[in-house]
Symmetry: D3
Subunit: 127 residues, 6 copies
């Protein structure tokens, strides 16, 4: 197995662990137009960065949810990582806290749109 293969395999396993079906759908959606972007997400995003350790996956998802909520222009990816946060051990209450805290740093609209994303994610999970 080549070195690139190891990065891909490690990343793919982490992506499935963290983002679950929501993450697999993102990868599948890239197959027709930009399959290499999917490879970079798996190899670099997950195989290199998420695999680094030092932080727990829960801490990494707290960081990602915070960042995507603050940026405010990445609603589909925020939903994937709200699933991710809940998948790796954040409680619903903890996720809500991250979103509320973003009101302080990125303003209330960012927090409100984060809560709207969470409402959709919770509905999916409760269905």
């Amino acid at each position: 197995m080549t070195e690139i293969g190891e990065r891909y395999e490690r990343g793919w396993n982490l992506l499935k662990t963290i983002d679950g079906e929501a993450g697999e759908r993102v990868i599948a959606s890239l197959r027709d137009v930009a399959p290499d972007l999917a490879s970079y997400i798996i190899e670099f995003g997950f195989g290199d960065v998420y695999a680094r350790g030092v932080l727990s996956l829960k801490e990494r998802e707290i960081a990602t949810v915070a960042a995507l909520t603050a940026l405010g222009n990445a609603q589909p990816q925020l939903k994937v990582h709200l699933h991710g946060a809940l998948n790796v051990g954040c409680s619903r209450e903890e996720v809500v806290e991250v979103l509320i805290q973003m009101a302080v740093y990125a303003g209330f609209p960012a927090a409100l749109n984060g809560i709207a994303a969470l409402r959709d994610v919770l509905a999916e999970r409760d269905a």
Copy 2:
């Protein structure tokens, strides 16, 4: 003591615990032009939001450092919260991980400017 007084006191204690001298300097800098903004930071930001519990202060600082790095337009506040993260129990290695992870979600320039802020903060702390 009035209810407002309790929020202020609770917030001021948390701000000092988390951000330390760097945070106190922010508050002091507002005295002449906008003292009420300082009160809102203390009462709402710390007295209401940081005091909520559910997340540990370490988890809250991870979220804040992630968000400010991703936004990329709040370098002075990022430095305050890099101090904050280190003050409430993040190791230097953990803070570096949060910054590197932001390359995935906000691009390499955001991560690079985060590392530059950290370099300044570490120099201050080592001095």
Copy 3:
């Protein structure tokens, strides 16, 4: 009545005056997932900040519409405050001017998306 109660009451009255039904719907939408975020919007956003005086409510809504248009990632909140601006005395022509001016500072896409939001808001009001 506690001090917190006064902030809430003052904020709630201002929110209803400014944002009307559109604002009440935002608050109602938070009840299930993040009711405390609704309280902070009312107490801090309206009870503390909008209640400060010095600027007229019309001037405050001009500032808010300008900011949300420029940020460009807060379309639902922009619609609420386009209602708000019209509710507190801005004419349609004045609101259009604020949106056009944003082309200078945030680019034409920001202004175009602001006009799209206004078109929806005017249709709601004319219905």
Copy 4:
């Protein structure tokens, strides 16, 4: 013919050449609420800036697609300029490259949302 008329005519011809029907729809959509904004887009955006030469129209569309993808809050305008890029000589493969490159500078969510916009644009063109 007045000088303003020349800027308008030059801009209108360029807008039609570059953005085609997608651009004409943007202009038409402004007629009721903000027709002057349409004039500024035509006169300043196209009649002044795009008409400057020095760069080819293909290079100008590469710049625009890159910027709108990185900003991440201008999805409708990104779609117009994905059409524009394809209209002035970019291949589909070249457009995909610009979008993938944005992962490096603005993060993977920006690139992913760019690819989603492109998928819609390609479906329209293939229809």
Copy 5:
């Protein structure tokens, strides 16, 4: 006089009225590298947009200060328009209110950096 000449003259007079010396320095700074960008600022920004009327210059500067504070990546231009706001009739107290209000919509870092810009501007004016 050509039509372009009228737009330039009208814009230049407005720019001097609003932004004063701070604005003239911006224009002068463009002479060597990008003089045409200076012309567009004068002709389009001031000659077209600021000259439209409907809003008072004070209301226009409130909108601009709000937008630039919220965007958070345009500190030099924010300083020019803080001068502008004060030049066209905003009191210092009114400008502070706009900046504080931005904490609600763009977060506390945006407001803090706005206050820092104002402190510099006030020092210049008091000198």
Copy 6:
């Protein structure tokens, strides 16, 4: 040589070709605090993405300069890539065109700050 080694070598050569000394300084600056971030820039940013072909290096630098100017919060990286654009064949006039065009999509402050960065870069190169 391992596969990772090839990505690094290919990336390092491209980084030196494109960004030259300015890019090497970025990598060197990461050695003490976050050397792995330097590796990711070289391996993923240059070894994977810039090495893809399809677009010329000149077209890639036009895209990068446009994106960083529009984002407006990455001034140090914009300077590196203004060097990069000039290194791979853009004339000064072409770079100015990219920056002016950003006024249309991201507003005049973004374009003005881009010109300020270019002025510094040209001064370095003329020294």
